[in-house]
């Protein structure tokens, strides 16, 4: 089964990388971008076909490793 875990910074945590990208876009002449925040996606192949189990595994992976829950939120999507 294919799945995607998306990890994003909690609001309020500042994101120097996002800020720098905003700046870079401006200097590249890309107009109209108000703000940028960067996150991560993990495209994951899960063995077996049990959706519920897959979601449990992904949640475990996110909690244990993929996200630093102090500063990051995550979201799990098992793709149909």
């Amino acid at each position: 089964m294919k799945a995607r875990v998306t990890v994003t910074l909690k609001s309020g945590i500042l994101d120097p990388q996002g800020k720098a990208i905003e700046g870079a876009l401006k200097s590249l002449g890309v107009a109209g971008v108000a703000s940028v925040r960067q996150g991560k996606v993990f495209d994951i192949e899960i063995e077996g076909a049990d959706r519920a189990r897959a979601e449990a595994v992904l949640k475990e992976a996110a909690e244990k490793l993929l996200a630093n829950t102090v500063i990051e939120n995550y979201r799990v999507d098992v793709l149909p």
């Binding site: 309020g12 945590i13 500042l14 994101d15 120097p16 990388q17 720098a20 244990k64 490793l65 500063i71």
Partner: protein, 233 residues
């Protein structure tokens, strides 16, 4: 001093650290493999050295922080044992929850290797007793993600409890954005854990300990630890 230097895959400043510990304490530290589950008996200082554990992949220090040996380190710290994390070691300690906050990409998004000036904020800790409060030392940094941040509350606590031990400063000890190469909040370069026995810092004191190599500004940190442990014993 019976120091243990942790070795994770991808760590690459463990030799620098081991040599410095030997030069200053006169004793070879034990090199401890990440997959081990216990520290050598009698260990009185755990050092998490710099480098690129697991290639800095995912988040700097994230994978190493979850290695088997880290449970032993946590237990050691809970019993008041001294833990020093430098550079990637600092990142690993933050990821493992032994220290608060995170180290983000440097403000300019580039890796920076240069000598920086640190203002030593306190001299009444095992890590800084070799210095005077307010003293300015010059040591190298070499990192791409040393920009320390934490939520306002945490910063307030760190500052309030005097847990910021080193700050990036100008050569004459003033806080100045021009002398804060990575943009860390309040110029924070090194912090203590809640109980004052865990220090994490981005700069590399271990690279400035030999007079023949030019500078010895980093020696005070290690000499101080040796004295402290000698007294404790």
């Amino acid at each position: 001093m019976k120091a243990a230097v942790l070795v994770f895959p991808g760590i690459n400043r463990e030799r620098d650290m081991a040599r410095t510990l030997r030069l200053v304490s006169g004793r070879e530290p034990a090199m401890v493999w990440h997959a081990d589950t216990a520290l050598p008996p009698g260990t009185d200082l755990v050092v998490v050295p710099g480098g690129f554990s697991y290639g800095d992949y995912l988040r700097c220090g994230a994978i190493a922080a979850r290695a088997p040996i880290m449970d032993a380190v946590r237990a050691f710290a809970d019993k008041g044992g001294l833990v020093l994390g430098v550079c990637n070691g600092f990142q690993i300690l933050c990821e493992s929850g032994l220290l608060p906050g995170v180290l983000m990409r440097n403000q300019n998004l580039r890796f920076i290797c240069r000598d920086v000036y640190l203002r030593v904020e306190r001299s009444d800790t095992p890590f800084t007793r070799g210095y005077n409060a307010g003293q300015v030392i010059r040591v190298p940094v070499a990192h791409g993600e040393g920009n320390y941040i934490a939520d306002g509350e945490t910063i307030a606590r760190l500052e309030g409890e005097g847990r910021v031990l080193f700050r990036y400063a100008s050569p004459d000890g003033l806080l100045d954005p021009d002398w804060n190469h990575n943009g860390a909040i309040n110029g924070i370069a090194g912090i203590l854990g809640e109980r004052g026995n865990v220090l994490g810092m981005m700069p590399h004191p271990e690279n400035h300990v030999e007079a023949s190599m030019g500078r010895t500004d980093g020696r005070g940190l290690f000499a101080g630890l040796v004295d402290h442990l000698a007294q404790a014993a």
